[in-house]
Amino acid sequence: MKRCISVAAVLCCLSVVNTTAHSEESSPQTLADLIANRTANEARTGRMQFLLTNKRGQERRRTARMFHTDRNDATRVAIYFTAPANLEETAFLSVDAKHDDSDESWLYLPATERVRRLPSSDRGDYFMGTDLTYGDIKDNFKFSPSDWEFENCDQRLMRLPHLPCLQGVAKSNEIIRETGYSRFVAAIDTDTAFPIGIDYFDGQGQPLKQVTVSEQKQIGGAWTAIAFELKNHQSGHTTRIHFEEMRQLNDLSDDVFAADALEYGIPEI
């Protein structure tokens, strides 16, 4: 009997120790730092497969080649559509400056035969008919401390309760206006420092969008989302994105992100 009590006591202690450890490991700031410090490729490329489904189940597919760099001065993304036929050769470039507001967006439409400079979109604007916002692309599954106040999760909102959870509340109304999000709740895979299930809420606090990462892969030593789904609760529209041939690029020249180059088509790397 004594022995049983001892075992129970040890188990109990272990349980307390474990809970304490889990709690420390999962404190909001610790989780936020873990994600923010996640190693990212400076430059990478991959083929993107989009599957867009509306609430009636009608599907549209798109294929594009993506180039992405994340450097000290700016985040640059170039996307060259290769299918379907009406989007073929359409190319989009965005340069998001990190230290000032000199953001740039460029679009090449083969029908106009001209590379056109566009007014920069709000971070909350949706990209080319998908459920991905320009802000989502720029943030790359990270949560900027300048945008969010990190908190403990509201347990009722946790979609994946077996995983540590991070909640962010927009720091200001300006951030809500820019991003379209007032709050998020994210389930974190601490092994990869990736938020693999994120629920976003709109300015009125209503559920807006659900992001689910279904496949991660190490590309050049950095964990990258290879397959993920974005479901808009309000429109019923879903976007599934799958990357193929994803690879890290060493010494990728900024020339790849020159606006004039969009007209030439996919750069040879």
């Binding site: 073929e88 000199s102 035969e113 566009l118 007014p119 080319m128």
Partner: protein, 422 residues
């Protein structure tokens, strides 16, 4: 030689799509338009356009577009007399036409690209109204009532683009005397305003011949140098000299001719992002522009300035708005030019996409502020399936008969288009 090139082009269009580095796509379009005033079906046009892109090696690729069109209506497909002999449609009979729209062999290495073939040069930053964007001839069979403005006509040419010390250099040599395509004589969109008839009163019997430049006179040389300035502003200067793509009328040996004398254009533009908007300014100077003067199809060489400013931005509700003003002025010594001394055009365009880009709504208003004529256009596009678009729209044209747009007042219309991509 031209027959050989055409044959090669047609053969290239039939290359198998299964090749790893090739892409072939086709688009079928049906367009029907009825005038608002008397419900005449003025446009009944069917077209198939096939595009091929073939990678020949890491650095070389060939790209071509072949278009088959059939029209049985009051507008028609436009004249082919304005095409250079080497650039005429492969088949052009009655209501049907098979045309090689584009055929370009391109080499690219790093920052340098060289292309040879039938191609276009979309220079300038102002939309719709051509300030410096005057290298390409354009289709005028639908005047300006088209989705894309302008509808460019490619010409046989060589082009070199490279970067030198941060300056982007674009050089072109065009060896093709094709000029802007005109509507046929019996077209509902044949210009009748006196500024387009050399000052002569319009009559259905008025049928000038077209006199294209030949030999060395048909060559056009062009250069554009552009650079990103430290402030983030894009700046460019450009110059070209060659036959005008727009006609000036002449009277010779008892015949009325549309002639295309050489002219020079010097110009430049600036483009800058300012917060959530992009602003643009563009200017062109033509020191030797020929214009018609009143009385017996006289001609005068005048100085011409064209300038344009514009801005576009996102508005609340995800509306995209473009506002633009262009000013086109000639400096005539005897003040007898048939065209007005000044044209001032204002453009306002609003467009919005909705339901994840399945639908697009567009409104456009273009006004000649001097004459008070113009048009208002609207359209709705709906992507019915992945590869099918349905479009509906219309143009309401207003103003006096002598105006750029007012001359087509009777042609206000509504239309439907269906587009299928394969």
């Amino acid at each position: 030689m031209s027959q050989l090139l055409r044959l090669l082009a047609v053969c290239s269009m039939t290359l198998p799509a299964g090749h790893a580095a090739s892409s072939v796509s086709s688009e079928l379009q049906f367009w029907s338009a009825h005038t608002v005033r008397n419900n005449d079906q003025v446009i009944k046009r069917f077209s198939i356009e096939s595009r091929l892109k073939q990678k020949l090696s890491r650095r070389w690729q060939v790209q071509g577009t072949l278009a088959l069109e059939h029209a049985h209506d009051d507008v028609g497909l436009g004249t082919v007399d304005t095409y250079d002999r080497q650039a005429k449609p492969l088949v052009s009979g009655g209501d049907t036409r098979l045309e090689l729209r584009q055929l370009v062999l391109r080499y690219r290495k790093g920052k340098t690209s060289f292309s040879l073939g039938r191609q276009t040069f979309a220079w300038g930053v102002i939309d719709g109204y051509r300030v410096t964007d005057r290298l390409d001839p354009v289709r005028r069979r639908d005047f300006v009532f088209t989705e894309q403005k302008p509808e460019r006509i490619p010409r046989w040419s060589a082009r070199l683009r490279t970067t030198l010390e941060g300056y982007r250099v674009d050089l072109a040599l065009i060896a093709d005397s094709t000029v802007s395509q005109l509507p046929k004589q019996d077209s509902a969109l044949l210009p009748t305003a006196s500024r387009f008839t050399g000052g002569l009163p319009f009559s259905p019997a008025f049928e000038p011949s077209i006199e294209l430049q030949t030999g060395r006179q048909s060559l056009t040389g062009a250069i554009k140098v552009s650079r990103r300035l430290r402030s983030g502003m894009d700046a460019a200067v450009l110059a070209f000299r060659g036959p005008d793509t727009e006609p000036v009328l002449a009277h010779r040996s008892g015949r009325v001719l549309l002639t295309f004398p050489k002219r020079t254009l010097l110009g430049g533009y600036l483009q800058q992002s300012l917060g959530d908007q992009v602003v643009r300014a563009e200017v062109a100077y033509l020191p030797d522009q020929r214009v018609n003067t009143g009385g017996g199809l006289g001609q005068e060489r005048v100085r011409r300035w064209i300038a344009g400013v514009g801005a576009d931005r996102w508005l609340a509700g995800k509306w995209f708005v473009l506002g633009q003003m262009t000013y086109d002025r000639i400096f005539s010594t005897n003040n007898r030019a048939v065209r007005p001394k000044e044209d001032v055009l204002a453009t306002l365009r609003l467009q919005r996409r909705f339901l994840n880009d399945r639908g697009e709504l567009k409104f456009e208003s273009v006004n000649d502020l001097r004459k008070g004529d113009g048009y208002f256009a609207s359209s709705l596009k709906w992507s019915f399936r992945q590869n099918i678009d349905l479009l509906a729209g219309g143009e309401w044209i207003y103003g006096a008969d002598s105006g750029i747009f007012g001359q087509f007042e009777q042609q206000s219309r509504v239309w439907l288009k269906a587009r299928i991509r394969i």
